[in-house]
């Protein structure tokens, strides 16, 4: 991930001819360090490369069964950085003409659930189709530090996107609900 922060531009290779049969210290074996891409590296580690290692790589990239040589110009990622001051998970329970009503769970610190009336214009166009009772969204207020060095205080809503429930999952959920109902003695 740190590689996202590197201010440089690199070329990487999918090289058809690995240079050696074993790992070599200090030899650049990966690109950007975000994913360990070469077949010399232990493939059982799910962490990321260290900053020191990242900053000493030459961005060479190898794959186990290379069949082509590609030279690709990679530009540094321009991700902005967002620091949340306040964060909620919301569940929509009513959609009106210009606003929607939601229950909010504070993800920043423990506290009682709240209810809020939120203008629909706060929802991005991409997410409008997802706005319906039962939909889950995340609401963040915080600082957005742009890759150009600007800091903005912003508020953003993003709806959860998950594939639709399958029939099998719905069946399981209904069975579980009935099991709990029976357990509680409700009729």
């Amino acid at each position: 991930m740190n590689a996202l922060l590197l201010q440089r531009s690199d070329t990487f290779y999918i090289d058809p001819q690995p240079k050696s049969e074993g790992p070599q210290q200090n030899e650049p074996l990966y690109y950007k360090g975000e994913i360990k891409t070469d077949f010399f590296q232990p493939d059982d580690e799910s962490g990321l490369k260290s900053e020191e290692e990242e900053n000493t790589v030459h961005s060479q990239f190898r794959v186990p069964r290379p069949s082509v040589l590609l030279l690709l110009k990679i530009t540094p990622s321009k991700q902005n950085h967002f620091i949340s001051l306040q964060k909620w998970e919301g569940i929509v329970f009513k959609v009106k003409k210009e606003v929607f009503l939601a229950k909010l769970v504070d993800l920043t610190q423990e506290g009682p659930d709240e209810e809020a009336e939120i203008p629909i214009e706060e929802v991005s166009e991409d997410d409008l189709d997802l706005l319906q009772p039962g939909a889950v969204f995340y609401w963040n207020i915080g600082y957005l530090n742009s890759h150009r060095g600007q800091r903005l205080r912003t508020s953003g809503i993003r709806f959860r996107r998950l594939p639709a429930w399958t029939e099998e999952e719905l069946h399981k959920a209904r069975s579980e609900a009935m099991r709990i109902r029976d357990l509680m003695g409700w009729k």
Binding site: E34, I35, S50, E51, S77, H81, R160, A164
Partner: protein, 220 residues
């Protein structure tokens, strides 16, 4: 150490790294949009570096996706998108549920600005006392990795890395790798076990990583 406690990281991020067998060329932004996992306009504005049989790499304004045949990685530096990052991983492998995944890392990274070079050096000395390094002239901490066993019932480990930050100076970089493995790594049966762990462990994992980092910062 109150000053450090109140300090927020200058830069932070989270990533989910999955180890298994993947087909990188599937992972095109348009595929994610068609599956409803990202927005259509997000997909259209994606910065695609490469989508190839052996490697896929693209960026959205909040997300970096990198996939090779044995590794799938999602990264964000936006705290507002930590949950969407998890949802994207879960949604992806709900659709690709037969993908064998044998391990996962929930990784939390933070860079902290120190108030002075003295404070910065003092932290390095505390983490790696120099008394044993008399054979070196001006020894300095470049990278320290410590591993602990899991305190939950899952298989795996927790690895913490500390380095001087290359982003802020004087600053410290922390990286916590919360590593999970399937019970039978030799024959992972699809993605279900790891996705289940991801959903179940996500909140605790992020909280634990923050606690570890702050406990190191505040330890005197």
């Amino acid at each position: 150490m109150a000053a450090i406690r109140s300090r927020t990281p200058a830069v932070q991020g989270t990533s989910i790294v999955l180890l298994g067998d993947f087909s990188p060329k599937i992972f095109h932004p348009i595929w994610f949009a068609q599956a409803g996992l990202i927005g259509k306009s997000e997909a259209e504005s994606a910065e695609i570096e490469v989508v190839h049989a052996d490697l896929a790499s693209f960026n959205l304004d909040w997300l970096k996706v990198q996939v090779i045949r044995n590794r799938f990685a999602l990264t964000t530096t936006q705290e507002s998108h930590f949950e969407p990052l998890r949802d994207l991983a879960v949604g992806t492998f709900k659709l690709l549920s037969h993908t064998p995944i044998r391990a996962m890392g929930i990784n939390r990274d933070m860079h902290f600005q120190m108030q002075s070079e003295e404070e910065w050096h003092a932290f390095g000395h505390r983490m790696a006392p120099k008394e044993h390094w008399g054979a070196l002239e001006k020894p300095g901490l470049i990278s320290l990795t410590m591993q602990g066993v899991r305190s939950d019932e899952s298989k795996g480990y927790i690895r913490v890395k500390i380095e001087p930050s290359t982003v802020v100076h004087p600053g410290i970089f922390f990286s916590v790798n919360d590593h999970f493995q399937v019970l039978d790594a030799n024959s992972p049966k699809g993605s279900y076990e790891i996705m289940n762990l991801l959903q179940k462990s996500w909140n605790d994992s992020l909280k634990r990583a923050e606690q570890i980092i702050h406990s190191l910062l505040e330890d005197r």
